[in-house]
Symmetry: C2
Subunit: 235 residues, 2 copies
DNA sequence: CGTACCTTTGATGTGAATCAAGAGTAGTGG
DNA sequence: CCACTACTCTTGATTCACATCAAAGGTACG
């Protein structure tokens, strides 16, 4: 919230820390920063709708947003929950097609928009940028493939466990024998959709896992009591 | 089958026709061709297993193969059915991770293997190659996102219809008012898995659509009688 | 021409969605 | 600070789409 009020942010420094721009020269980073557009969103605001044209890609400075498919029957399918330092929209930009999904801020958010032209100039001048861009898209592709595997081969409980385990790796600092604390990044509703579940089903799964003493649930705080047994919970 | 016996194929000419290599100079294409390795597979043979390391990517000259996840319970999940001129394995190559799925020939197949080093040299020397590679990965990402949408938002019948409609666009040559013939590229078993269905369910859906006079089914020959009504079949 | 696999058809089972209420929990304004 | 509104989350009863199980044709191919 302190930064929201601050209109002057050190954009070059911020960009230079992103994996995507890691190997660029300071001059290149400054050039991108100069050409990038700031975009502020308040919670609940739409960044783009499905079908909108793409003019570049986005980087999240702070805040949080979701990428999701709209659906006739009101319920939507969340594909990704994104936070600071994450970028999105690259693939759509390279294909010159309209967005296949919509983006909505789920917290007050500051974004940088990097224009297509800026990217293409960089690609032409710096092969290492191309490699990073390719690596970035490859990662995205890989995790989507993982999602497809989850959706088609795993039960709802297994998907929830997979989600928790993935977030252990990020948050858990070495302490693997004891209990691990996770803070859910957003509402259970949104997480349920991300896991292709209804909120009711997610709630029941948390309940069952808690009853089996595998985890503890207290609002957004999840305690993993027995990592080993959770991994093997394979019914 | 005639080409299988022929050990001399004009590889440069073949490569030059691929979208990926479209803008390369003749010299570059010849260089790739010289460094590419031929790989022959007979129907049923594995190209790589889940977990194998990647040393480059593949291009299909002729034949057909499937990319799929193995599953403990024997049943597998087919992610892609690939044919001539299609490439695969780029993303895994760029990430330096092992394959997340396996590849199996579903017909006698000839592949070209382009080594990682070759790709990286090209990337460094030709920005247009980088753009094509990025466009290629973006397309792949886009279609995976479509798959995720299908799996999570559409019913089994809708997925089957979507599959048929997609194949109309490729095979259907303008004649939109009359009936359109489609030849399924492989067995119904594999197509069912690709659509996240059991063979039984796919069979029943074909039966229902045929009963409603929307399509005709005769082995691998599918006749679409009423494209308009098929598109609107939304139950 | 027989064996092995693909495909169809029918009967039954089940995981997760849907429907329906109630219990937190969080912001809002008087 | 407390009541008011609006969500979000939980819990239970019921339903349904699709899978599973079982068995009988078809089809291909050695």
């Amino acid at each position: 919230m302190t930064q929201v009020q601050d209109n002057r942010i050190d954009i070059p420094a911020l960009l230079a820390r992103l994996p995507l721009f890691q190997e660029l020269t300071p001059e290149q980073v400054i050039k991108i920063a100069a050409q990038a557009r700031e975009k502020r969103l308040t919670k609940g605001e739409m960044l783009f709708q499905k079908g909108d044209p793409s003019r570049g890609f986005y980087v999240i400075v702070f805040g949080q947003l979701k990428l999701a498919f709209p659906s006739s029957s009101g319920n939507e399918k969340v594909v990704a929950i994104l936070g600071p330092k994450q970028s999105f929209g690259e693939a759509v930009m390279f294909m010159g097609r309209p967005y296949p999904l919509f983006a909505e801020a789920i917290a007050d958010t500051l974004l940088l928009h990097v224009a297509k032209d800026t990217v293409f100039e960089l690609l032409a001048s710096d092969p290492s940028f191309a490699r990073h861009m390719l690596a970035g898209l490859s990662m995205r592709l890989h995790s989507l493939v993982q999602d497809v595997e989850s959706y088609s081969l795993r039960s709802s409980a297994q998907r929830v466990i997979g989600y928790l385990l993935q977030h252990c790796l990020i948050e858990g600092d070495g302490d693997f024998t004891g209990s691990i604390e996770i803070t859910l990044p957003t509402s259970k509703q949104i997480i349920a959709s991300r896991l292709n579940l209804t909120p009711e089903t997610l709630s029941r799964i948390f309940h069952d896992l808690a009853e089996a003493k595998l985890i503890g649930v207290q609002g957004k705080q999840i305690t993993i009591n027995d990592l080993k047994r959770l991994r093997e919970y394979d019914f």
